[in-house]
Symmetry: C2
Subunit: 396 residues, 2 copies
């Protein structure tokens, strides 16, 4: 793992223990703007939406995307907690707002952890003063660690953009952190991610960069198909840097989001081997995505890949039930670049090479539908015994 990058200029952050989790590990993370920040966010599409997500949605709208801070706790999702849960989420943002001397609607928040347990808001309120006292510019590490749940490692990515304006050299940075690692499925994963930049952006510009970056990254991954009650991805801009070329900023957002999304999959619960499915020659991108997602999420494909087992018939079977029309006799399937199936028939191939393709670190599957020329891709991972183990015994 690379060492943690810095947040962009204009931010301070911290992460300490509020005693929500056992064992005194960091479970409360805070990032604050030196001045008012521009904010954008995307939230879970799950109808059962956690109290802090509801509160953040309301605050983002009420503040017109001008906020001061984002506070996230791990160890408790504050989801399915009713009006009491909403009251407790509000207590957290109010306590922080009072301590920072800002408007409570300028605080964004989220929670991650077990569903259906009330948030220990009093412990969080007591931890606000030392948390604010711990705020530092620079490294995102303490923040990234405090939002972890079943993650085995913190996740961060950063890109710096450099450009010259006449003879003046400028730079700005996009830094993101994320947590996985279960209930990972678009739209969106549980998944909490924060992407910050010092580039100046209007709320609308920031929202556009975020949505575009998420479309190619977090909306293309799945660990278990379960969309969480708390999924959120926040973008924050301090605006203290000069304005970079718009395309470079968009690219930096895309790169950071993609790197984080792949980290989430690779740290998916019980991860042993990655799967990248690329579907080509589809009628539409939507069709390509449907087929790619169906293959990448098939339990039979995912278990075969865990076993390093070239049981590629399961890839065909998954493609065939994706709800997309194609001619099975024109279908072509490759793994690791080796052609396995074409013209309606299995191909005699070098079985040792096929086995190598299925035991590589990431198994790359290419499917050609022979319909038109649209394409898309999807990432997942082999389903493992360890995944079952982790999830069969989570609350207890």
């Amino acid at each position: 793992m690379t060492s943690a990058p810095d947040w962009p200029r204009g931010f301070t952050s911290g992460g300490i223990s509020a005693g929500i989790k056992k064992h005194d590990v960091p479970d409360l993370a805070l990032i604050v703007g030196d001045a008012t920040l521009t904010a954008a966010a995307m939230f879970t599409t799950n109808l059962v939406c956690a109290a802090p997500v509801q509160l953040s949605k309301a605050n983002l709208a009420a503040s017109s995307g001008r906020v001061n801070a984002l506070v996230i706790n791990s160890g408790c999702a504050n989801a399915a907690t009713g009006t009491e849960g909403s009251a407790r989420a509000l207590r957290v943002t109010r306590a922080l707002a009072a301590h920072l001397n800002v408007d409570p609607i300028a605080i964004l928040t989220n929670s991650t952890g077990v569903i259906g347990v009330q948030l220990p808001a009093d412990r969080i309120e007591h931890t606000v003063p030392p948390l604010v006292a711990s705020l530092r510019p620079g490294s995102c590490e303490s923040f990234a660690r405090a939002i972890m749940t079943t993650d085995t490692r913190p996740k961060w990515a950063s890109r710096t953009i450099r450009w010259t304006d006449g003879s003046v050299e400028h730079s700005c940075t996009v830094t993101g952190v994320a947590k996985g690692a279960g209930m990972i499925h678009p739209n969106m994963a549980t998944m909490i991610a924060v992407i910050a930049t010092d580039a100046p952006c209007t709320p609308l510009e920031l929202d556009r960069h975020l949505r575009c970056a998420v479309e190619g990254s977090f909306h293309r991954i799945s660990v278990d198909g379960d969309t969480s009650t708390n999924d959120s991805i926040f973008a924050l801009a301090s605006g203290v840097a000069a304005a970079p070329p718009a395309t470079q900023l968009a690219q930096a957002f895309n790169d950071v989001a993609r790197e984080l999304a792949l980290m989430v999959v690779r740290d998916g619960e019980g991860f042993e081997r990655g799967i990248e499915v690329r579907v080509h020659e589809a009628r539409t991108q939507e069709d390509a995505l449907k087929v790619a997602r169906t293959i990448a999420m098939s339990l039979l494909v995912r278990t075969a890949i865990t076993g390093g087992d070239p049981n590629w018939g399961r890839i065909l079977a998954a493609a065939g039930r994706a709800g997309v029309t194609f001619d099975p006799n024109a279908l072509r399937v490759c793994a690791g670049g080796i052609e396995l199936f074409a013209r309606g028939s299995p191909l005699a191939t070098d079985l040792a090479a096929v086995r190598r393709a299925f035991t590589s670190d990431t198994v790359v599957i290419d499917v050609y539908l022979a319909t038109a020329d649209a394409s898309d891709h999807f990432y997942s991972c082999g389903l493992t015994k360890r995944y079952v183990e982790i999830n069969a015994d989570y609350t207890t």
Copy 2:
């Protein structure tokens, strides 16, 4: 396990080894009518549809539902095998037709086993004479055993209908056999099932009984969400009995199909504990089914149930992403009859009783959407380490 029931009158059957599977186990099953049979069938909706399924579809249409025999092999699915696979399926039906001295279009067939491997048609052709010589009326056991793949036990169910017509006592029988146990998902499971009756039926009547029975049974189960390339369910009627009251015959079909479907789930790969999800108070039956299916198939719900873990927040999260509109604050969730969530909040309950509900042989989950009064149900099973183990190493 109960001992195998008899097929109804008017049928003979057998099951012997053709050497398709290793270890000389039965892998070729045959059921033949003493006279011409009425037939109906439902086949996989998978676009990648196996050669024998395509052939059976064609023969069922060409023969107008009047057939003589059904032959099924295990050990090889003859799917994704191109024109060569179709030619080999045809060789099997032709060899049998010649030996039985009937029209080849009056033979139905299917195959089950690994995908993408050519069928050893020569071995099957050589086995046709001893298989036909082994045909006996009575027990369905040899047939049921010869169609097994990863099933740990054969599956059968039977109902006898008795009625009087004036002073004359009549009876007829509905007997079914099925095989699971992976790629189990409607519509339909892989799943091959055969339901036979001696009741007289037109092809249309038989088709209606079959579709109605499948709707409430095989279309309500899932082991892994993967619809197979070979899923088929056949209904055969010899017509040698008197005509029973239509509602009783329909009920017998429903009962036999439901019993077989539950057997398939309970013998699902790596089965440890069953799940029955019942959704009530939905706007439409379709909505109820969507919510029931999403909960029953959620990997997080299924792993929690394997662990006997009352992590019921996952039930809510699954309901919330089912694509059905309801008010989460009006939602009510029970497990084993114990209320866990209502009025937007978790309920203080007897944790020991909740744990007992989650460790029972079948965990029964009731979800009340508080929208209207439609309901539906879905069956699945906990996802286990053994499931992963079985499927990570199937072809090798």
